[in-house]
Amino acid sequence: MTKSHALRNQEKVRSRIEQNLKRRYRKEKIFRGFGIASIVFGLLCVAVLLTDIIYKGHGAFFQHYLQLEVQYDPETLGIEQVDESALALANFDGVIKDAMKARFPEARDRRARRELYSIPSTDAPFALRDRLQQAPQLLGERETIWVMVDDDVDAFIKSLDEIEGGFRGRVSERKAGWLMSLYESGELQNRFNTQFFTSGDSREPEQAGIKAALVGSALTLLVTLALSFPIGVAAAVYLEEFAPKNRWTDLIEVNINNLAAVPSIVFGLLGLAIFINFFELPRSAPLIGGLVLTLMTLPTIIISSRAAIKAVPPSIREAAMGMGASRIQVVFHHVLPLAMPGMLTGAIIGLAQALGETAPLLMIGMVAFIVDVPTGITDPATVLPVQIFLWADSPERAFIEKTSAAIMVLLAFLITMNLGAVWLRKKLERRW
């Protein structure tokens, strides 16, 4: 009687379990489905973003050049020999105009001439000057050279593949006709735009480059790294290894956690008040940018460094102390080497955040229009995200592709930095 009862009970339990099993598996499946869906959504967003940026920005890496047959006529140039002062005054503009006139003799009235002259970039006379400076023997000779075209022209030619008849914009029908004839005869050529990587910002899109912002970002990050890493690690080591646990250290900990969540523009205001107004450091400089970003990244670095230090097994500390190592020796011989990979990760996360930061830098004047590439941390400079902001704000059509190209450069910078961090981590990490 009891035996059959037990048997029945077991059967009941088993069937219950089986019933529940289905439900459990279904729940698991749904949960896994959610996970996969979120990852797919995330990847999709990244893919859309990247394709959009690359599609819009790839054009900025190329630029159309115009073939011109120029004559370095001393009369037109108004110089007799090639030297510094003569070149500064020489009328290279006239040489270009002559070459354009010779190519399109049909343009006779003033209006047509003006349109004709606007085909080459305003940079073209400077290119000629550089050429003549390099090769003074060319004075009085004829030569075929390639010069950059104006951004409107460049945009028109580039749009030929996409829009039937091309995007004309400010280009008149007559000018478009000339351009088509130049394009078909191969006198307009698409070339890799080296100037984008070798020059600073410019009002003329075809002459604008990313180098100043890139160097500015690098200098600013260098200052940030040099200050925030040692300070952050020292603070974390002190708080974890030496500081007594009392109300004061609790207060400090709470405040560090709060600081990590403070909007970055507040740090910009702080930098403006302290570094510029009080200490009177040079404004718009990577030095101040670095200082402000240091303030911003410090909490991140301290928090992650403390976590890395906490993760070092206490048995290692005990072993070292049991051997008679002093507290400093315990920290430097054992704790820091083991915590270093984690600290570096924190530092890189902090720096990546700093690299993409715009708001606090606006407050300290790094938003200024700066053409020269900075040579030191006290030179006026701008940084990549600010440059993107400035270009996105510019009305010229050609700046659209420049903006996307700058974003690509920023992402490449970021990826390079992260790869460097991964490499460092792998190198320092001890696997046991």
């Binding site: 048995s315 008679g324 046991w432």
Partner: protein, 289 residues
């Protein structure tokens, strides 16, 4: 009102914490047996240890003789590890831990804020419960102590220290061809012997062992026990153990701790064959533990 309630409830708590045996057996006002010896290497008098407000060790006095192995046994939480850690001031590293009383090493006071723990820990080495080699090579593990204390001026000298220490720890033949490999890659028993080699590399006078075999298999345990017997010739050893057989095998004298009190200290043979105190008898016969 409140204070009265606390006062009344206190004896009850004490009873709850103990076992049935506690009802019948009175705690000794002083330790029974022979806690003191003539030529003591370590002399402890009236040790009290507090963790915050909680007292973990009550007025313990004990001598550890030269070149002697003293085993400390007792149920979990009886304070034997805490007591052991007083002997090289490892309790300093625990927040809120306070040690009072007299601890002398060769007649020299070692308990007190003015005593430098760095040279003390070179004289009183320690081996921990869980093997804890540094995440460095085998060589670096053993060389660490001599390095930080500046015991070797040349590389050859350091090599010699490493070799003798590993030989004494019975590990040399097993690792001599892979000194540059990580110490954490060894087996548990080898790791513990590496920790012993590391401890003896600075030629300490006393070695404290906190349940050194509790994480090891019986074969590795036997090797360590053998090693302890060999080390006794040159070192004074205090060992905390959960295994009564181990205490019987390796030690000359045994101290029995119970709830923070040192109940009995006697020759090991005496403790395990004819214990003086009823609590000791209850423990070794397995009535609690």
């Amino acid at each position: 009102m409140n204070s009265i309630a606390t006062a009344v409830s206190m004896p009850e708590t004490a009873v709850q914490e103990g076992t049935d045996v506690d009802h019948k057996i009175e705690y000794p006002a002083t330790t029974v047996g022979a806690p003191f010896v003539d030529k003591a290497k370590l002399r402890m008098r009236g040790i009290d240890v507090f963790y915050g407000d909680k007292q973990a060790i009550h007025n313990v006095s004990l001598d550890i003789g030269q070149h002697e192995v003293v085993a400390m046994i007792g149920p979990s939480g009886c304070g034997k590890s805490t007591f052991l850690r007083c002997l090289n001031r490892m309790n300093d590293t625990i927040e809120g831990c306070r040690v009072s009383g007299d601890i002398q090493l060769d007649g020299e006071q070692i308990n007190g804020a003015s005593v430098d723990v760095v040279p003390l820990r070179a004289r009183v080495g320690m081996v921990f419960q869980k093997p804890n080699p540094f995440p460095k090579t085998i060589y670096e593990n053993v060389a660490y102590g001599p390095r930080i204390h500046g015991l070797a001026s040349r590389r050859a000298e350091l090599d010699e220290i490493v070799e003798t220490s590993l030989t004494r720890a019975g590990l040399w033949n097993e690792v001599k061809d892979r000194l540059d490999q990580p110490g954490t890659g060894l087996s548990g028993g080898q790791q513990q012997r590496l920790c012993i080699a590391r401890a003896i590399a600075v030629s300490p006078e006393v070695i404290l062992m906190d349940e050194p075999c509790s994480a090891l298999d019986p074969i590795a345990t036997a090797r360590i026990e053998e090693l302890i017997s060999e080390l006794r010739e040159n070192f004074t050893i205090a060992i905390v153990t959960h295994s009564m057989q181990q205490a019987a095998r390796v030690s000359q004298r045994t101290a029995y701790f119970h709830l923070g009190n040192l109940v009995e200290v006697n020759d090991t043979e005496r403790v395990f064959t004819n214990p003086e105190h009823a609590l000791t008898e209850a423990y070794i016969t397995g009535r609690f533990g």
